[in-house]
Symmetry: C2
Subunit: 339 residues, 2 copies
DNA sequence: ATACTATCTGCAATCGATTACAAAAAATAG
DNA sequence: CTATTTTTTGTAATCGATTGCAGATAGTAT
């Protein structure tokens, strides 16, 4: 155990009061005569006392920790979210337990259990589709905010992008720039992919462009998987003249594939996707994307969570944020290609 | 409080034994008659009992949480480290508290205090230079592993890159490729920048190239700062013909600056740096870098920490890992430029 | 069968705080 | 100055586990 461990008892002794009084001074919400308060403060200072948060948490049945459960912190989207969440948490005096699930329902369950067992104040969670059905039935009753993904039929706070609309806009942008054979790669583990596919299909329909099944693929949201699938799509007899990708890892793999096939962008093929990463602006041409307001998503999720922690019975909210279409060189219109 | 909260007491009752016995069954290290063990297990199963980790931690004075304190999780280096750490922790049954300090000594102190107050099992920490001097004197006696940075005069486990050597190799590579006026941008908050500067200077010296003070800058390790400083360096009468950057954020800013100045790489200027990020291979030309073995660094740090948690008196170790020079297009020799 | 060990099990203390309740002190009213 | 109310303070229970110690049970040797 820590060597110089000093507990509330020693402080009480030093100040000549009871532990209850010390506790009252420190939680500061209660009445204590100024003189005693002063004595306690001095004792605290002298002994360099710091309250043991574990003991406090056990007794008060509250905690200053929140959980953040995402698929992989290395996904730039979640990296950014996590930073925003941690910032908000810090300001509120909370700290953040980070969990990576790799889109694995088993790990998701394990981490949710951990959250319960450690009695966290609440959880911000980006679940796979698989876990969703169970979610309502699982015995987890801590405050929770779902982020990035939507959970139908479960009454829970949610923050996410307007995925259908965003994909619709992104696809429409390609179409109005003259692209017709639009290949699309969607993540298969999240609802996000599904919604973005919907937006994609609606846009095609609205413009009278037929769906081509070979142009639509679902895959693990990983760079390698994307590279492979994109490469094979590029070998098709009628290869696409544009590629729409549903997250930055898939976009990364697709870009690698284009490079490997020696295709130039956008002359041979356009490339668009989701999420602002450090590199969408650094590669040439820069990549047209839907920028998600990750800071705001993270901050909003944290805010929702703290509100729910404060008032557990509050009606739930679903907050849908708009993405921003950033038009760049990777989707330049066909008739401008010669320039 | 959680609704169906079932404690060890209920389990004991259900199984017709004492709480001590239940505890012994669950911690499984102790002798318990098979029949009782069976009864307890059944009760646990029936009541869906899960031990309260807060209570356990308070009583046993141990914890299954470790802290990870870095400057900014959005720095790809730390993103990767954090993932490796979390993986190792998960395998050992630990979870990870994530803290971003923004290289701010005040936040560092606050987080260190938090770590103490929550009685974490240990901490993996990437400190600023400022906090170092205090480090030994601060009253923090939990197991700690320093990562990425070196702390002279303090007896503590450390994992870091061979920075001097790596910078030396990187610089030598530039020199042997014909570059002579090598500008260098170093982070000012960490020891890492200092060590890399040393390697840079030694390489110049070894090749008989004079140091030019205007070519050496220290800055906040941030994209914007780097962009500004790089831009101003490019305006020099005798502008550099190569830029060496000491981390990926600085490299990002520098690349933006080169793009803004319409300089082509490596014809007008070479660019090299540290850290494998998603984009070093995606931009064209790809960027020559020293790849740090982030997975290994993170894993090693976690291993060291767990070993120290197990045996606090173990002699400390300093583990120095080698970086890997990845030669790419951004530093192609001058005489090949015409090709 | 008796004595002696070795194994199990339960009681109760403990970890370090918070908090219900009651007692004491202070403030206010009459 | 006493009665009543209000504000402070302390005592002790409590949160939910683990664990030292002693008593109970089982096992072994004589």
């Amino acid at each position: 155990m820590r060597s110089g461990m000093v507990s509330i008892k020693e402080v009480a002794e030093e100040a000549g009061v009871s532990t209850a009084t010390v506790s009252r001074v420190l939680s500061s919400s209660d009445h204590v005569r100024p003189e005693l308060r002063q004595r306690v403060m001095e004792a605290v200072e002298k002994l360099q006392y710091r309250p043991n948060l574990v003991a406090r948490s056990l007794r008060s049945q509250q905690s200053n920790t929140i959980g953040l459960i995402v698929s992989d912190i290395r996904n730039p989207f979640f990296t950014s979210i996590s930073r925003a969440v941690e910032d908000s948490a810090y300001k509120q005096g909370f700290s953040v337990l980070l969990c990576n699930t790799d889109e694995d329902p088993e790990k998701e369950k394990i981490y949710l259990q951990l959250m319960r067992d450690t009695n966290v104040a609440g959880v911000i969670f980006s679940p796979t589709r698989q876990i969703m059905s169970d979610l309502a039935s699982l015995p987890f009753d801590f405050p929770m905010v779902i982020v990035d993904r939507s959970v139908p039929d479960v009454d829970v706070d949610t923050v996410l992008l307007d995925n259908v609309e965003s994909a619709y806009r992104l696809t429409s942008h390609l179409i109005s720039n003259g692209f017709r054979r639009i290949g699309a790669l969607f993540g298969e583990t999240s609802t996000t992919g599904i919604q973005r596919q919907r937006g994609y299909e609606e846009a095609l329909k609205a413009h009278g462009i037929p769906l081509v099944p070979e142009y639509i693929k679902h895959l693990q949201p990983r760079v390698e998987a994307s590279y492979k699938i994109a490469t094979s799509m590029l070998q098709l007899p009628h290869a696409p003249d544009a590629l729409l990708t549903s997250n930055s890892l898939i976009m990364e793999g697709a870009l690698q594939a284009l490079r490997a096939c020696n295709l130039s962008i956008p002359e041979d093929i356009a490339l668009v996707g989701f999420d602002e990463t450090p590199w969408t602006l650094l590669v040439q041409p820069a990549i047209t994307i839907i920028a998600q307001p990750t800071d705001e998503i993270g901050k909003t999720a944290a805010d929702l969570l703290f509100q729910r922690i404060a008032i557990p019975t509050r009606p739930t909210r679903q907050i849908i944020l708009k993405g921003q279409l950033m038009v760049r060189g990777s989707s330049t219109p066909l008739h401008l290609k010669a320039m």
